[in-house]
Amino acid sequence: MKPSEPLLEVRDLRVDVGEQNVLKSVSLAVPAGALVVLMGANGSGKSTLGLTLAGHPRYKVVSGEARFGGQDLLPLSPEARARAGLFVSFQAPPDIPGVKNGLFIRSALNAVRESRSESPLDAFDFLASARTAAAELGLPDAMLNRPVNDGFSGGERKRNELLQLALLKPRLALLDEIDSGMDVDGVRAVVRLVQSLRAQGTAFVVVSHYLQLIESLEPDSVHRLDQGAIVEDGGLALARDIARTGFVRAPALAEA
């Protein structure tokens, strides 16, 4: 990766889901350590972008390119992308019955560590760090012993995503509406964790509809996605403008 190269660079990405073309042309650059906010109406392609970058097999890249950390991202398997440091939080994280949350996270963490030739964490060491991280996110210890997301409320699932984020410490995290379904304390926990990880060098792409969260995160840039393409770039002013007027733009307003 050249010093001038962004950590994530997406160019003219065109993606089909089934027979439908969802992303028409998306270009986005995220420098290392930066925080980028992505806004857009429902169905504009925000989640599609995240799942495509994560390597979901149902999302077919028709054209364009995506580079991450100086390497071509698109030929990589989902796990290779994760091991390279890309974390994508799910808008609706699935449950995995019978698999204890702690075991799941430790298995994932050790898979990532192994790819970096680091020694695996034993259960004792993992538990200590997991308990600390869980406490900071307002999650009870018991969540580590429950099956992954099984019977979790919407807010608990999102906090569980944050717990994995906190322990995996990726190079870039794409958070897809991480604040939806969360209470006030949960949203504060998001802000604290993002700030903490940013201080350690993690870059973020945050998908959110809520100005209060976006303002708290102090983004470097804000982008508006519409019908599968990024149609506006700006800063917090763009987020405030969208919060005030909505996503539907009059032609004259959009041109201004």
Binding site: G55, E79, V99
Partner: protein
């Protein structure tokens, strides 16, 4: 001729007269068992002159305590079926087989049975001390002794007693193919319970039939969890008789068939009022496996408020296995509840992708998810995660799943 020898000959004659399981048998047609000669041998296995030549006195059963319950709550008798008196003790209270298709195995068993173990839970020296309500946790390990055998296990859980039992079956790695026809008879007294984990993972060339008959007294509870893998022929059959009111039974099976043959049959008879049963199975199959799950629940007339549930699932993980799931209900009473269903499908794609997005490779993700699905099933069948821990289910299931996935990988390279 002594009485034991006479019973053996009677069993052989009975089989000869009714014949072996017919090919059109409704129960067995999807996975026809090997012929009668496989289960009877050539007759030399039961010589009156040398009745105990092959098997040691313990008949390959090893019994250990898993918990800290008081000594003296368990009475164990290793009995010689070639001795008339001991044979009577071994089979005391057990009804003679009938003429059903499945009963052919029972007759073959009677013809070949050499030794057996009889356990009385709550029947030991401490029985007079008012131990009802205590839990006895046991591990019972059986090592196959001969190439052809028909062991017997009888478990009587006395009224009010609770038992947790791990029953595992092993065979020496150096043994040639084993043919085993095992009969297990469970009787639960009023208010008694048995949480029964059974593990049967034969070698690929073995031919195995295990039949478990459980008869539940009033308010008794029987929970069975089964971990089984396929072989040349492997049948696990459980018959549950809920003859008294408020009896309750659950079975949950984690079944693995990687290019092998495996069938589970669960037959539940509701005769008492307010009885409940829950039959669940998840079978994983790969390669050219043939796997069958037959669940048959019958609610007899007069079984008021009986409740039946059957849930059978199959997941072909690789290759082109043949999977047959047959939930079947027969209801002869109006005021009952019954739910049944069967689903075939793939591993949950969203969970697989989720695990891979967190860094697990595909095979690790599949193994984790498979083990999780089966753990959840066994938790439901035994009803208590602590019991699973006591019985070491995590390791037992992990080993079985790992062997299944490794065998599947080999098959895909063939």
């Amino acid at each position: 001729m002594n009485h034991a020898r006479a019973e053996v000959l009677t069993a052989r004659e009975r089989l000869a007269s009714i014949g072996w399981i017919p090919g059109r048998s409704e129960y067995f047609r999807h996975l026809p068992p090997p012929g009668m000669e496989v289960w009877l041998g050539d007759g030399s296995e039961m010589s009156a002159a040398d009745p105990v030549v092959h098997e040691p006195a313990d008949a390959g059963w090893t019994l250990e305590s898993l918990g800290t319950a008081r000594q003296g709550l368990v009475e164990a008798q290793w009995l010689d079926a070639a001795d008339a008196t001991q044979r009577s003790q071994l089979f005391a209270g057990i009804a003679a087989p009938g003429d059903s298709d499945a009963d052919r195995f029972a007759w073959a068993h009677q013809a070949l049975c050499r030794r057996g173990l009889r356990l009385r839970i709550g029947g030991g020296k401490a029985s007079a001390e008012g131990e009802a309500g205590e839990t006895v946790s046991l591990a019972l390990r059986r090592q196959a002794q001969t190439a052809l055998e028909a062991p017997t296990l009888v478990i009587d859980v006395l009224p009010g007693m609770h038992c947790v039992l791990l029953e595992t079956h092993e065979r020496g790695a150096s043994m040639d193919a084993v043919v085993q026809n095992l009969d297990v008879h469970v009787t639960l007294g009023a208010g008694a319970s048995l949480q029964h984990l059974r593990v049967a993972t034969p070698a690929p060339g073995d031919r195995i039939v295990h039949r478990v008959h459980a008869r539940l007294g009033r308010g008794a509870r029987y929970d069975q969890a089964l971990i089984a893998c396929g072989s040349s022929y492997h049948l696990q059959r459980t018959e549950l008789d809920l003859h008294a009111a408020q009896g309750s039974a659950r079975t949950g099976a984690a079944l693995f068939a990687a290019g092998t043959a495996l069938e589970q049959q669960v037959e539940v008879l509701h005769r008492g009022a307010d009885t409940t049963s829950d039959v669940e199975a998840l079978v994983l199959a790969s390669g050219k496996a043939r796997a069958v799950v037959n669940a048959y629940s019958r609610i007899a007339a007069g079984a008021d408020e009986a409740s039946v549930r059957q849930r059978l699932s199959g997941i072909p993980t690789d290759g082109q296995p043949r999977l047959v799931l047959r939930p079947h209900l027969e209801i002869n009473h109006d005021k009952v509840q019954a739910v049944h269903g069967a689903t075939w499908g793939a591993l949950p794609e969203d969970a697989l992708f989720y695990a891979r997005q967190r860094g697990l490779n595909e095979s690790s993700a599949r193994a984790l998810i498979i083990k999780g699905l089966l753990t959840a099933l066994l938790e439901r069948s035994l009803g208590d995660p602590d019991v699973l821990q006591t019985l070491g289910v995590d390791a037992l299931l992990g080993n079985a799943a790992a062997r299944y996935l490794a065998a599947g990988k080999e098959l895909s390279h063939e």
